[in-house]
Symmetry: C2
Subunit: 200 residues, 2 copies
DNA sequence: TGATAAATAGCACGATCGTTCGTTCTTTTC
DNA sequence: GAAAAGAACGAACGATCGTGCTATTTATCA
């Protein structure tokens, strides 16, 4: 489930492949990721890349997992060093903003959500599981903010998590279409209004 | 720009093809739409379908246009019969909810937004133009609600339009991944909170 | 009804897709 | 240094992709 820290050659090149695959999937989505173009990007043969995963679907699942881990490491992990409650919540959102700017051309996780929401299979399940897990983390952080007295006692954590997520979707959407700066301005003001509306 | 109401055979079958293409694109996105599978779905030969558009890109543009027209006809047009201001705004959102339920497996316009936000070309331009146009309509309806005194005089139309759009993105996102009913419950409550926060 | 034009089918092309298989190169182990 | 194991390559497979070209069917009109 978690990345093995093995230092073998196999694991190293696999990581390299995943790096390139992740970058490619950021632009063309997981469905647009082909083994041929990936191999050319890495500088390996198709079969050499293929041998590391066994099938295209396994490759896609690996990219999805890698994306999820990077997201958690970039957005959630640094925020856990901040004090519980609203500060941590705001740190999460701030890191999420940076994550959004970094992948202006699209986040693998978000594009996967719209690519696989109507289908079935392992990829769909993995997307749903990751999204549910992240939503759960959000709810946890919100609950702590309520416990700390930063948010109203009758705060509906799931609803607020929905609202936070929606604003981030708006940021990504507008950022990709109309430019990140304008989208960020709107999102920042929307978040200030959101915090105020739930504040104790 | 607008659909010709010609009754010729060519236009009729073209419309039939677009119907099937739209349905297919709802599930697999515009990038996942192939002429071969479309022809099989319609019951025609590949070249027969191809002749109606001249290229795959023209087909995609036509599907995108058709999607935009249907969206406007379903979401905006009926709402224009409602009185200006908040009633019309709420009608837009209500119709938008129905639109979201109808295409549980994904809306072509939304999936196109994430498919083409990082690229360039006619498809990207068409998506941006459509999204900008729709956002403009939203702002117009918001401005009327301000003029009618339904919303605060200092309402930032663009910001509110962003917030409305974000909530609808959240509805589509959660609806596709976690089920439409739960997503709708969250979105409805979020919208009530949103209206109240801007009300005069 | 016969001539003309439009619409569709059929076929083939080069390219790319995911995948398999056997070979070659590189690394490790004794 | 020889032998065994591992990793990457290269070629080929059937399938599908978008796109031309040429027949053949179908509709239109005198």
């Amino acid at each position: 489930m978690s990345t093995p820290i093995t230092t073998g050659k196999r694991a190293a090149t696999r990581e390299t492949i995943l790096d390139h695959a992740y970058a490619l999937a950021c632009n063309g989505g997981l469905e647009g990721l082909s083994i041929g173009s990936l191999a050319a990007d890495v500088g390996m043969s198709k079969s050499g890349v293929f041998a590391h995963f066994g099938s295209r679907e396994e490759l896609q699942l690996a990219v999805l997992d890698a994306g999820g881990q990077r997201f958690m490491a970039t957005v959630l992990a640094p925020a856990l060093k901040r004090p519980r409650g609203l500060p941590r919540l705001r740190a999460i959102v701030a890191n999420w903003f940076d994550w959004g700017r970094q992948f202006q051309s699209g986040c693998v996780l978000l594009s996967s959500a719209s690519e696989y929401d109507g289908r079935s299979g392992p990829l769909h399940d993995s997307v749903v599981a990751q999204m549910a897990g992240w939503r759960h983390e959000l709810c946890k952080a919100i609950g702590q903010a309520v416990d700390e007295g930063h948010l109203r006692a009758d705060t509906d954590a799931e609803l607020l998590a929905f609202e936070i997520y929606a604003l981030m979707l708006g940021l990504h959407h507008d950022g990709g279409l109309f430019g990140f700066d304008q989208a960020k301005r709107h999102a920042e003001r929307a978040f200030e209004r959101l915090w105020r509306s739930w504040q104790a």
